[in-house]
């Protein structure tokens, strides 16, 4: 297998779990199209994730298939052009809550392992 393909697939696997959550969280602010979602995640993580926009789309389509988001081509409010806007559904909101709590517990657990002193104080 090519090294490029291998890298792409690895990062895809790595991101997949958290990426879904990040997308859902981003859509909590309101509908957005793919490019906006990507930019938002990049900006808020200070480009830490080094994410290529492309890897968003498989995730977006997967979320759509699970019924957590809906998508529709709409004209953008600020310009005369159509974009595919994604919206959070009711089920998506619930899913976000679930993933968020899972993530928090996970983060706390990791934090306890990594810095036990902070726990004692």
């Amino acid at each position: 297998m090519s090294s490029i393909a291998k890298q792409a697939q690895q990062s895809a696997n790595l991101l997949q779990g958290t990426l879904d959550m990040l997308i859902l969280r981003t859509l909590l602010y309101g509908p957005a199209h793919g490019h906006q979602i990507g930019k938002h995640i990049q900006r808020t993580t200070n480009d830490y994730l080094q994410m290529q926009h492309g890897s968003l789309y498989p995730a977006l389509h997967r979320l759509q298939r699970r019924g957590w988001v809906t998508a529709k081509w709409e004209t953008a409010p600020d310009r005369n052009r159509e974009f595919k806007y994604y919206r959070l559904t009711q089920r998506g909101r619930k899913q976000l809550a679930v993933e968020e709590s899972l993530w928090k517990r996970m983060a706390e657990a990791v934090a306890r392992v990594m810095s036990p002193a902070a726990e004692e104080s």
Partner: protein, 877 residues
Amino acid sequence: MRWWQLRNRDADLERELQSDLELEEEEQRERGLSPEQARYAARRALGNTALIREQTREAWGGAQFERFLQDLRYGMRQLHKYPGFSVTTILILAFGIGATTLIFSVVNAVLLRPLPFPEPDRLVWLSQQDHSLPGIAPEPLSYPDYFDWRGQNHTLSGMASFMGAGVTFRSEAGSQHLDVQTVSANFFDVLGVAPMLGGDFRWDDEKPGNRAVMLSYAFWQSEFGSAKDIVGKSIDLDDHSYEVVGVMPKGFQFPLENPAPALWKSLADNAEGKNPPTQQRGFDVLGVIGRLKPGVTVEQVKANLSLIAANLARQYPDNNKQYSSALVEPELEHLTGDTRPALRLLFGAVTLVLLIVCANVAGLLLARGSRRRAEFALRSAMGASRAAIIRQLLVESVTLSLCGGGAGVALAIGVVRASVGFLPLESPRIQGATVDAGVLLFVLIASLATGILFGAVPAWRLSHLTPANALREGSRNVSGGKGQYRLHNGLVIAQIAIGMVLLICSGLLMRSFIQILNVDPGFDPKDVLTGRIGVSFDKLKHDQHFLFYQQLLTRISALPGVQSASAGWPLPMSNNSATVSFNIAGRPVAQGDEPSESLGVVMPGYFETMRIPLIVGRSFNEHDGLAGPPTIIINQAFANKYFPGENPIGKHIQVRAGDDVFEHPMREVVGMVGDIKRKGLTADADPQYYLPYAQAVVTNPYLVVRTDQDAATMRDVIKAAVHELDKGVPVYQVSTMGDYISKSAAQPRFQAVLLTGFAGIALALAAIGLYGLLSYLVVQRTLEIGLRMALGAQKFDVLRMIIGRGLTLACVGVGIGLVISVIITRLMARMLFHIRPADPLTLATMVVLLFLVSVAASGVPAYRAAVLDPMKTLREQ
């Protein structure tokens, strides 16, 4: 997701990605990059679009099928793009799959298809074991035994008897001979088939005076114009009136290996007269079929019936002493018993052919694959996963094999139609060999398996590419390195080895078949015409019967073109026989322990007409007539067995033939004749004795007429001579002795011809495989060969190098093939006639043949390499 929505989704995704790209580009430009730079930056930011599309499609689900369609489209395009390669491959596959389909259609028809009766698994063939003979020796039942078995068993829901018979049917249109069956009243009921018209036999129809018949559909149609009111009417058989009770459905017959009877008569006529067959316990002529009660096993039936048989043996030692147990065999096994090993052999052989085809096509794909390395390296670099590449290649190879399968089926249908002529039609059910749904399913599975088998190896190799290297090597040096050669060599060796095995097997069968044809049957079958005539036993007394034949033979002998004419029963190889017990004067034995051997009854001149040599004594003549002293002639095997080292002439033998008709006089041995192959060319010559027909009129004998010219042309002349004497006597079973001989050799011929065909295909394929590999090698190594020649290598050296390579492969293949043959041919030993499985002549011939073909196959590419112009080659490379 429906497949027609996939296209929309693709467009939608495309638009989405495009819009992302445009936005990104705008942003980059706003940041001050040049349009060009902005576009590249946007691409980088978006990532690998091919991969994104792929992964997004996976997210949609249902992607498998879509991908398959895509691969299929691509595969078809590839086939179209390289028509030469495609046509070659498909043709090779068509041969392999077609041959396999052909044999499978026969196997399917003969061995696999269930019997055409309800719940056929419950039908069993019944007989009694003859314990005076070694091994399994089934003996038919007599009527009294059958009635006792039928009445006393508790394991069968029904047990029916049947017996072939010939009758003369008289109607306004004239008289004709009919092959019929005499059956018990429950015959149709046990088989589970009801009449389509009228009713079944009743038990009363077995009683004397209740002669009843059931018509076959074909006879009802041809003779009575399908008249519905036939039931209840009477028809005339052998000058007796029989009441028609019904008509059986079209195609009904049992047993399946015999010709279909025109009608079935109840056994009432066997129960009539003084000492009728139904009361003779020694008259062992009945075929018996049973239907198991539900839940009962074959073993239980066997135990049950054996108990009855043992009781009968104690009760009637005179007739039943050696028949103290029963034989029970599932009907399908009984029917196919003889053909099973032959079909297994052929199916094995054709599977080997298919394997060669796989190896051959795999070699072709390997060679082509190396030309496509760049293509797959590129795909891999673009993000195609290994699974995707393997999948794509397998779809391509399966597409090829399905095309080959389709062409193969067409080929098989043609061959099945064309080959009906040389199929051994005596083999039961072989006529039913057609390409039906079952066969098509088999072809589909075989094609898929073939495609995967020959596609897997090249696919695996191509998926292992390191794209950077493969691309760098480019088209200059596209060889796959050592590994690929090793694989390709292996494929060629496998083909040669399998080809060797098939050649040896077919060589052995061919030699065995030729041995069979060279067997001396003990008589001269050339220019002998045979036939039977339906003289009624009821109308003529025995002496009149004999006189009729005497008169007829005198007339026929006088015909122009006839050398001599006689009559006798049974005709060799006609599947008739009777074994009758006898006493030798001066050698008393206990009752029931009398020896028995095969009986013949002949008219004077029979041995001369058949050219059976008289060894000592005299032949039958006019002295052995109705009033003459009782005489007997024995054959050599008989003399060797019973009178070893003695002169048999003048000995006395008492034969117990024809229980009710004749006294059992002491007969004097007047002559000894040569042995003949009574049962078939491969059978051993067994002891046999002959009685003069005048002194033992038991059945209508076969006329045997030796002619000056081709016997077949005399048919009508003989018929006319019979009808001149009596218009009302039907003539039937007219056939040349040569036909009987060739029927006797039909099965070995069928095997030998088919297997030779397969071996021929295998040899051709192995040669093509070797040729292909060496040609490919020469192309790959053009540069090297050019260099060698530039450095002083001679044409001869190059020739030797390439041919040497070919012969090395051939040697390894032949070696492996020989080892496998030693194992396999041992399994064939029983099918070979007077040939040892390790027949040195066959082995040597086939090895030499294979080597010669290998040299020829290597010669062409070697020559091509030798005539390369070194300067030109080096410049081009």
